[in-house]
């Protein structure tokens, strides 16, 4: 039965090409006459460029061209645009030249680029470009950069403050005056490196005869890339085709429009040949965006019984040296508006300072702003519980928003769609055996062993989002989606969508939706994405919006197909259209299911058009645009159980329980996979990962040898369950699931370690919680 396809964990149709090595990623693209590009990058974090000598490089074997930022500029290639300027924040957007012209502002900043006949010749020649620098003072810390006498990065940006944004709900100062208790913390939500397994790449092909540009790109959003490229390369949008072939993970790092896109296009224009650029991993660590990097001062005010009355925070968000595509929206809209978490917090105020430093630009990394908010809230809840000697579960329940189905507005102004937070929490506690765990903890403590139980109850904002809101919050684009459903005469279906999945499995998920709704075999549906020439406009796959928004467009097109099918069936069966019903691939006359036409009959009749009612166009194809009326707010409860060795500081992750609610589940196997991966990345932040700069702006964690991308043996088997609270924001009731695991797991794990060490009087430990840091904190607390 067709209706069973929705909600079933059918295997992914993406996989056969991926497990056999036949999938084509950007670096696998080979074109006739293709040549290779290599980028010369600054070894200094902040310096004046005195001279660029390209003579030696130009004369090297195979070299076809050596280019500088000035040449790009002279050819009309403009600065990389920042696509998100949050209103009311006095945001300064200093120019971000794709290749530095007179000043470099982070190590890895491009200063020149070379094109040669093969990869190694290009790289050799890049090494031979002689650049003279005059080093300038460096600042890498988001707070220190705002202090008097700090080195200044950009003209017209005093104290390196790019913006000051705030969110206010209620009267937070009065709340703090009335409170019985106040807890405070100074949180460093450290900088992370996204580490999509496929580094970035680009193949640019300029056709001089037609003026067309084709760019194969490792992008999460080819349509946005085309739009932005048209703005800064001086090429008309209709002449640009962006193809996202197989893309090997993104996690936000492949949203931005990057300088290398411009360089490759420029070089292809210069040489009239296809140009390929492929990032090395150590290049990726410096030239691809980083995530997080907040310094947060947080206070929570409450009454003696645990009722929270206010939350107040001041945040310094490190933006890096330049504004990447969406960077200013992350620590503001996607962060500050979620400070109520799953709780009734009537009074909230947060000031956010976006700060320039001599570091790689910071932009969206899985969770993007929400992990920084959730960590803050969940950490404060636990500190409050400790202060009041209450169980952290009790404090959560005391303040939790009760179940709701028709919207709940929090003090920051956003309205959550639907939620049953207590339901998820109860399920997680039951799975964990919470009472037993607490008993075991007490027994172990008596023996001097340190077991910790950490909770995180979260809601997050995703499924970005209504376009009207996007405009109101300064996002430089829309956030709707579109889809085309096309029936062929044989009854087979092509679907073209604007989203651009890169591992999330929507070719399968969307085929399930079409099969379920239109009663065709799942294998009779082909899903096409990731090519601006083949697909209708879409705003991309990020912010857990692929299914949440994309399925809305798909359902709209499906409805149009059904409506047209009804009209044609009524005509063919000489019935009134009001009497035609549709179910499971059949149009039939109400009350007489024998009088029917299959959807395949209708597809054939509509396509041959031998007998159409007056006014009905031939063909069975529909296009639909979907702009959601609200964001979606998935939620859940996660519990981490750890054992800390007080002698070595080592943390053993014993169990990890996750209950998540993403509304209607279309493919439970894929949903679980998203949760697994999300948890692993969030635990990575808590325990192992961190981008580290020295005071000179050198990236010490500059390769995979130095940055701890988690391995298989780092994790236990995650224990998962789901609850299903549908949203009314889209036709299927689906919420996003791509980021929940990352948002929830960092605070759950941190809270578990803090809980384990509570008897030792250990105060804040900065993430990642490496054995050395834990050991030092224990030693400090004991002395």
């Amino acid at each position: 039965m067709a209706s069973r396809i929705l909600g079933s964990g059918i295997k992914r149709r993406e996989d056969p090409r991926l497990i056999t090595g036949t999938a084509k990623y950007t670096d696998d693209i080979v074109l006739p006459g293709m040549v290779y590009m290599s980028v010369v990058r600054s070894p200094y974090a902040h310096a004046k460029i005195k001279r660029i000598d390209t003579k030696k490089a130009s004369a090297m074997p195979g070299v076809l061209g050596v280019y500088t930022g000035q040449q790009l500029k002279d050819a009309g290639f403009g600065p990389i645009p920042c696509a998100w300027v949050v209103p009311g924040s006095d945001t300064k957007t200093p120019p971000y030249p794709p290749v530095a012209i007179d000043t470099v502002r982070y190590t890895g900043n491009a200063v020149a680029f070379v094109v040669a006949a093969d990869r190694s010749q290009a790289r050799d020649a890049a090494d031979a470009v002689d650049v003279s620098y005059e080093p300038l003072p460096v600042v890498v810390d988001g707070f220190k950069a705002t202090q008097p006498k700090a080195p200044q990065l950009h003209d017209g940006v005093p104290n390196n403050v790019c913006f000051h944004w705030h969110v206010t709900g209620g009267d937070v100062d009065a709340a703090f005056k009335s409170a019985d208790v106040i807890v405070k913390d100074h949180i460093i939500n450290q900088r992370l490196i996204p580490n999509a397994m496929e580094p970035r790449g680009a193949v640019a092909q300029y056709l001089g005869a037609t003026g067309e540009i084709t760019l194969w790109s490792t992008t999460q959003n080819p349509h946005i890339a085309r739009f932005l490229i048209s703005l800064d390369t001086g090429t008309s949008e209709q002449k640009i085709r962006v193809i996202a072939p197989e893309v090997g993970g993104g996690f936000g790092s492949k949203i931005p429009h990057y300088p290398e896109d411009s360089m490759a296009i420029f070089a292809s224009k210069m040489l009239n040949r296809p140009v390929k650029w492929t990032e090395s991993r150590s290049e990726n660590y410096r030239a691809t965006i980083h995530g997080r990097d907040h310094i947060q001062d947080v206070e929570l005010a409450a009454m003696k019984d645990g009722t929270i009355v206010g939350l107040r925070a001041k945040v310094w968000a490190n933006l890096g040296a330049y504004l990447s595509t969406a960077s200013t929206g992350i620590p503001t809209i996607l962060h500050g508006l979620m400070l109520s978490g799953v709780y009734k917090i009537p009074n909230i105020h947060e000031d956010v300072f976006g700060v320039f430093t001599n570091t790689t630009p910071v932009d969206a990394y899985r969770g993007a702003g929400r992990p920084e908010a959730t960590f803050m809230v969940e950490r404060m809840i636990d500190l409050l519980a400790r202060k009041l000697k209450m169980d952290p579960v009790a404090v959560r329940r005391k303040n939790m928003i009760p179940p709701f189905t028709d919207g709940y507005q929090v003090a920051t102004g956003v309205t959550y769609d639907t939620g049953n937070y207590e339901g998820a929490l109860a399920k997680a506690l039951e799975m964990a055996g919470y009472e037993k765990l607490r008993k075991r903890q007490a027994e172990m403590r008596a023996k001097g062993e340190y077991l910790g139980i950490g909770l995180c109850t979260y809601a997050e904002i995703c499924g970005l989002g209504p376009s009207q809101v996007a405009g109101a919050v300064g996002f430089g684009g829309g956030l709707w989606e579109s889809a085309i459903v096309r029936f062929h005469p044989s009854g087979k279906v092509n679907v073209m969508v604007g989203i651009s999945p890169h591992g999330q499995g929507e070719e399968t998920t969307f085929a399930q939706i079409v099969a379920n709704e239109l009663g065709v075999g799942v294998d009779d549906v082909e899903i096409t994405h990731g090519d601006t020439e083949k697909t209708p406009m879409g705003w991309g796959t990020y912010g857990s919006r692929g299914t949440a928004v994309g399925s809305g467009a798909l359902m709209g097109a499906i409805k149009k197909i059904k409506d047209k099918g009804k009209t044609l069936t009524a005509h063919l069966l000489e019935a009134s259209v009001d009497d035609i019903e549709y179910a499971d691939g059949k149009f039939f006359v109400k009350g007489s299911p024998g009088k029917s036409k299959s959807i395949q009959d209708i597809a054939l009749m509509a396509n041959v058009a031998w007998n159409m009612p007056a006014g009905l166009e031939p063909g069975l194809e529909a296009s639909s645009f979907f702009d959601p009326p609200n964001f979606v707010y998935p939620f859940g409860a996660h519990i981490a159980v750890v054992k800390v060795d007080a002698e070595t500081g080592e943390i053993a992750l014993e169990r990890y329980i996750a209950v998540d609610d993403c509304g209607k589940v279309i493919n439970p196997m894929i949903v679980a996979g998203q949760i697994h991966g999300g948890i692993a990345q969030g635990l990575g932040q808590a325990l192992w990962e961190g981008a580290v700069y020295d005071d000179d702006g050198q990236l010490l964690s500059g390769s995979m040898m130095d940055y701890a991308v988690p391995k298989a043996a780092f994790f236990p088997k995650f224990e998962l369950a789901m609850t299903e609270t549908l949203t009314k924001v889209n036709p299927l009731g689906v919420k996003g699931i791509g980021e929940t695991g990352t948002i929830a797991s960092t605070p759950a794990l941190y809270n578990a370690v803090a809980d384990a060490l509570a008897p030792l009087g250990v105060k804040t430990i900065n993430m990642p919680l490496t054995p050395e840091r834990v050991w030092r904190a224990i030693r400090e607390a004991r002395s």
Partner: protein
């Protein structure tokens, strides 16, 4: 100065003159066009480039093409036989052991090597056995399930 090499790749003898510095992974990808083997790092951490050399899993970014002269190399493209997926490929598909797929070719080769050495690995054995390959998408849970499923299939 180029050096002649003769390497049997997926059963077919390949003869070429290569630069001494050419890595085996670039020989496979650029010279032979076998792009199933991926490059994910430059420090031999990620394992995306893992292939079999004379029956053993090796990161092909740590081997020069000239070092592989005379050897037999199997890549992901050579794993299926007569259009039938290898048990390990099938298990990765069945158990959702991949998402973006970039680490997958190397991960599958690593997993095959593990089962050669330990045909009946525990969950713990698998987690340690695939440590040389990184995956950023799956949290490894379904990769572990896939490898154990393949082990069970091979025993049956």
């Amino acid at each position: 100065m180029k050096h002649p090499v003769s390497i049997t790749v997926n059963g077919a003898k390949q003869v070429a003159d290569v630069e001494p510095r050419l890595l085996l992974v670039h020989f496979l990808r650029d010279t032979l066009g076998l792009t199933g083997t991926n490059v994910g790092c430059d420090t031999s951490q990620c394992g995306a480039c893992t292939v079999f050399i004379d029956g053993q899993a090796v990161k092909s970014c740590t081997v020069l093409a000239v070092q592989a002269d005379g050897s037999k190399v199997t890549t992901i493209e050579g794993l299926a036989t007569n259009g039938k997926l290898h048990v390990m490929q099938q298990a990765f598909w069945d158990k959702h052991g991949l998402q973006c797929g970039f680490c997958t070719p190397g991960m599958i080769m690593t997993a095959c090597d593990l089962l050669q050495r330990n045909p009946d690995p525990s969950e713990e054995d698998v987690r340690h056995g695939i440590e040389g390959s990184l995956c950023r998408c799956t949290g490894y849970q379904n990769i572990v399930a896939a490898v154990r499923e393949a082990a069970a299939q091979m025993k049956a």
